[in-house]
Amino acid sequence: MIDEELVQLLTPEGERVSHPEYASTLSGEEILSFYRDMVIIRRLCNESTSLQRQGQLALWAPVQGQEAAQIGAGRALAPMDFTFPTYREHGIAWCRGVPPEDMLRLFRAVSNGGWDPQKYRHSVPTIVLGNQALHAVGYAMGVQRDGAEEAVLTFFGDGASSQGDVLESFVWAASFNAPIVFFCQNNQWGISTPMSTQSKIPLYHRAHGFGFPGVRVDGNDVLAVYEVTKRALESAREGGGPTLIEAYTYRLGAHTTSDDPTRYRIDAEVEVWKHRDPIERVKSLLVREFKIKTSVFDDLAAEAEALALKLRDDVLAMDRPDPRSMFEHAYAAPHPLIDEGLRDMVELGVGGGAH
């Protein structure tokens, strides 16, 4: 256990541990399907990194190390819940059904979003740190006004927890008793800024100061993340108001493919966290407790591989958009400057897609 306050149901070695308040409700089949999601997300993430290295993406924000946090949270959602992600929630997007290629449109720099947020009930990525937390509270206020039994789940990092918008969202969530769960992935770093610059004490304590519960969960333990998130979402749906979940985890990779973490963190730290790998511990459990055979794992790896290859194909097929598309959807209604810009562009002979 990393600290006593941490909710953990599975040790890094894959041993079950009991917790006074939470117990795993998952069957072996379900755990295997969680494992599958994590394996796929890691594989897709690796593929994306190499696509970026090969010049096929402008940027990539890896999720390695945070698979349990995201799959645990994402699988705890009910279909009608709504999610507000940052730029790194690939695992959540996966759970919501967003096609992998859509997740990469932003990073291929062919879209500022990438998917239909209403269709998947998963908002477009928010890059400005913290902005989405307020959107989530507002959406939750809408849910309240509709009298719907739905919850909202929003994501931010340890770094973003210092932004005024995140902190104001705590004030509002408490004030309106909004059906929202704040999911903070404390991956210990905000680019080069260590967690200790944002707070000297665990982040989940913040919630208490605003008058709602905060829980720290082992973010590398998919069983624990699932139970904690599920309970918080249920509470939100039932009128119990907001919860802050701090998923204590680690960003195994670089901040993004533009980042060079060797400048600011030591290998030893990364090594420690590699031993806490979120995927390995579930595998141990599956092997030991549920006697899952090697062939099953091999099949899943093959499935992930196939998805990665498909992703690669899909990405390579993503053409440069028609420049004229920049004028679409900037406004809902006709606007003279849109007409003027489009006319100028066409007169300049610009148009058409890939080149």
Partner: protein
């Protein structure tokens, strides 16, 4: 034709009421908008009639007022945010520029940013600092937004309803110094499209463009000028982004002379845009350069001297003299 005389404050109140009656998804949110009815009483009585769920007293945080309105818009609501005074919109600037203005685009048209941000703007009420600012240029510059301003009770009544119905996010600037002035409101039909400029007084010598508080200043200047035999055409811009350049250009083609009157300082302002855009459209008609009468390039002064900061009739007339003095 049903008409009624009322103040601009009352007209806004009635316009909001009409919009709320028409569409259950319309909400009002802001500081003190409930029991108090807002510091200018624009929302007076609305919470009583529509309930606390639709007229929402906000915790004191502007970024959150706008940020949650974005979330409500995603959920299908249309929130009219009240910013208490112009100088307090800046904490919400990030949400407005990075989210309100861009989310439709980012979602490829899936999200409708149905929200109106009402800002009592401009000076003239003898307030303390931060209560007399003219932030419209910041929003006019921002792609993804639209900015409008009313100058009469009739426009106030209709433009607020048109703004709420519109599918793009709208910054709605209310000239607070005109809140208590009365005018006729036609309750049957809107006078104009939301983005149309309107000729408030016809004239032949100089085109004077104003908006919000400065329309009246321009009209007064036209009265005075008329006594000196000068005929000013006064245009109320109404929409600051997009600008109705057609209406302005038509006037300028006739007069050949342009004066723009605004309370904001002139650098990179709506006035700059009007002058620059019309100098391009009307190059051959222009008999003098377009001239701006603006607030000075200083922080808004203590209000005992604000009338020396705000464009006065004298300063407008001085500008008119200047453009008349050019020969070409």
């Amino acid at each position: 034709m049903a008409t009624q005389t009322m103040t601009m404050a009352k007209a806004l109140n009635e316009g909001l009421r009409a919009a709320m009656e028409k569409n259950k998804k319309v909400l009002i949110m802001g500081e003190d908008v409930g029991k108090l009815g807002g510091v200018f009483r624009i929302t007076d009585g609305l919470q009583k009639d529509f309930g606390e769920d639709r007229v929402i007293d906000a915790p004191l945080a502007e970024s959150a007022i706008v940020g949650t309105a974005v979330g409500l818009a995603i959920r299908g609501y249309r929130t009219v945010c009240e910013i208490q005074f112009d100088g307090f919109v800046y904490p919400a600037f990030d949400q407005i520029v990075s989210q309100v203005a861009k989310l439709r685009k980012r979602s490829d048209g899936v999200y409708t940013m149905g929200l109106v941000i009402r800002i009592p703007f401009q000076g003239g009420i003898g307030a303390i600092e931060h209560h007399s600012e003219s932030p419209e240029a910041y929003f006019a510059h921002t792609a993804g937004l639209r900015v409008v301003s009313c100058s009469t009770p009739n426009d106030a009544y209709w433009m607020i309803q048109q703004s709420i119905e519109h599918d793009d996010p709208i910054i709605f600037c209310e000239p607070k110094s005109r809140y208590w002035e009365k005018g006729e409101v036609n309750l049957d039909q809107p006078p104009n499209g939301l983005f149309d400029a309107v000729v408030r007084r016809e004239g032949t010598d100089v085109t004077v463009v104003g908006y919000g508080s400065t329309v009246k200043t321009a009209l007064r200047a036209a009265d005075t000028a008329a006594q000196e035999g000068l005929s000013l055409e006064v245009i109320d811009a109404r929409s600051l982004a997009p600008l109705d350049l057609e209406t302005m250009a038509a006037s300028l083609t006739k007069t050949g002379r342009l004066v723009v009157v605004q309370e904001a300082p002139h650098t990179a302002s709506v006035g700059s845009e009007i002058v620059a855009a019309l100098s391009e459209r009307c190059f051959y008609s222009l008999r003098a350069p377009g001239v701006r009468v603006s607030g000075y390039h200083v922080p808004y002064p203590p209000t005992r001297i604000e009338e020396d900061y705000r464009p006065s009739v004298d300063r407008v007339l001085d500008a008119v003299d200047r453009v008349m003095g050019f020969d070409s």
